[in-house]
């Protein structure tokens, strides 16, 4: 089944009886060439790119729950490539370019909307830092514009420009950034992978790895043993739990991050806006809800819920930035579990076990990275070599002293 405007009209006129399921529900086979653990955005994108770009066959994606039920369905849907460091920025810009073509590639409406992201600055020093960051972005082929106060006012006149403590001095704007429908991303990759023969097996929890003579032979699952030539693990949030089964300790702590949605409102937020003096970011969904969030709670947690102090902190950030948000009522809030790495940057690498590959440590930047993470992980799995934009995301970079620490806060995961 191929989606098109013609198909939509035809189905509307014929009672919508021609739609078919977006993917099959196959039983697991005894052996696959490549098994991807984790049916979230990154795992599904990996499977899609393995089949579509790297010509691999006999691929399975194993998901312990239902497809897209983890962090791909729990994030604030922001896509952007406004990083500073050379290890990061080319990768995220590669991801941004993949976002721009993914809907055509997948034949699926993921509602990618390049409505822009505006990072506000409140001091001269912050503006200097943004100028430097913008230049780094331009060097990597991304777009960046430094706005002065009037430029910001023209875009978002409702902001609190004259806050006594944090007046708005300007902002760094990336027009190509924006939002995407997060579930649609998972569904689009799942459907496109399935069409290329990938078996997506839900309700199939990996309970162990079978490792012989330092090489992985397959995975033990709740639906029996599944043999595999190569195993790629993409289970951010549960990385510690899963890799422990392979006897690995990771440079990662699991933390809970909360997010919030208000009741539906008329269009008011032009794109994504981030507060530069506290941790608060906000956008508006097509349904009208204000989608916003802030810091992680800050202590190790696998509970998909947080505590009230962060709710209060986020609310304070919102009120400082745009006091009118105080009139909006909160519709719902939720928590997701993040792989917080020791330098705030992700890992896409082979492990010391032959045939076992790891993708994780996305902190709270995993959603925007979904396409490139899948592409680069597929590149590594298929060719054995890291993709050029992900070459810095190695497991041993900590031991080598080549950390990619955007914030410069050191090995303290809850500060990244």
């Amino acid at each position: 089944m191929r989606f098109s405007g013609f198909k939509v009209v035809k189905e509307a006129l014929t009672g919508h009886r021609g739609w078919t399921p977006l993917w099959r529900d196959p039983a697991p086979q005894a052996h696959y060439d490549i098994v991807i653990v984790g049916g979230g955005g990154h795992g599904l994108a990996t499977a899609y790119h393995l089949a579509a770009i790297f010509g691999q066959a006999r691929i399975a994606v194993l998901e312990k729950g239902w497809l897209g039920g983890g962090n791909i369905g729990r994030n604030t849907t922001i896509i952007r490539s406004n990083y500073l460091l050379p290890g990061n920025e080319p990768f995220y810009e590669f991801s941004m370019k993949l976002w721009e073509s993914m809907e055509q590639d997948l034949n699926f409406n993921a509602m990618v909307s390049q409505r822009g992201i505006l990072n506000l600055c409140h001091t001269d020093a912050q503006r200097d830092a943004f100028r430097r960051r913008g230049n780094a972005m331009l060097l990597a082929g991304a777009d960046a514009e430094l706005l002065d106060r009037d430029g910001v006012r023209a875009m978002a006149p409702f902001l609190n420009f004259d806050n006594a403590r944090f007046p708005i001095k300007g902002g760094l704007l990336q027009r190509r950034a924006g939002t995407a429908r997060h579930d649609g991303v998972a569904w689009g990759y799942a459907r496109a992978a399935d069409q290329r023969g990938v078996d997506i097996i839900q309700n199939c929890e990996v309970t162990g790895f079978r490792i012989e003579n330092g090489a992985v032979k397959g995975v033990e699952t709740s639906r029996g043993f599944i043999g595999a030539g190569k195993v790629g693990v993409a289970v951010a949030g549960s990385s510690g739990r899963v890799m422990q089964m392979a006897g690995m300790r990771l440079p990662i702590e699991s933390h809970v991050l909360q997010a919030f949605v208000s009741e539906g409102l008329k269009p008011v937020i032009p794109g994504v806006i981030t507060f530069g003096a506290g941790h608060f970011y906000v956008s508006q969904s097509d349904k009208g809800g204000l989608v916003f969030g802030g810091d992680i709670d800050g202590y190790n947690s696998y509970a998909q819920r947080g505590n009230l102090p962060v709710v209060e902190d986020v609310a304070e950030g919102g009120m400082a930035l745009m006091p009118m948000i105080g009139r909006a009522r909160l519709l719902r809030m939720w928590g997701g579990v993040m792989d917080m790495s020791m330098d705030g940057s992700p890992i896409i690498d082979r492990t010391h076990i032959n045939g076992l590959f790891f993708n994780g440590g996305w902190c709270y930047g995993g959603f925007k990275a979904t396409p490139a993470s899948g592409y680069c992980f597929a590149h590594l799995l298929a060719t054995g070599r890291p993709h050029e934009t992900a070459a810095a995301y190695r497991l041993d970079r900590f031991a080598r002293g080549h950390v990619i620490d955007e914030k410069g806060v050191g090995a303290q995961p809850n500060l990244h």
Partner: protein, 91 residues
């Protein structure tokens, strides 16, 4: 989240700063080499379940606490003064 301080009774978790896994108490011997220090600084067990961790009572009596907490439920199982816990031991 309330943390039952051994000296001060139940205190709001907001008064504390979180450092992380209590394994940080077990600093390797300076002569033990880079690999041991790399493990100490960067690698974590990160368990889903019972976790021993260090909290600093920054807006309180400035003591370090060793808190045993369930990372799946946030339930606090045990709190003791970090200074009373022998470093490198089994406590």
């Amino acid at each position: 989240m309330l943390i039952p301080h051994p000296l001060l009774g139940p205190r709001d978790a907001q008064e504390f700063t979180y450092l992380g896994d209590a394994a940080l108490l077990n600093r390797p011997d300076p002569a033990s080499g880079e690999a041991d220090f790399c493990d100490y600084v960067y690698l974590r067990d990160n368990p889903a379940g019972t976790h021993r961790e260090l909290w600093y009572h920054e807006y309180g009596d400035r003591s370090w606490l060793l808190v045993t907490r369930d990372t799946l439920t946030h339930e606090i199982l045990d709190v003791r003064m970090a200074r009373d816990v022998k470093t490198g031991g089994a406590a």
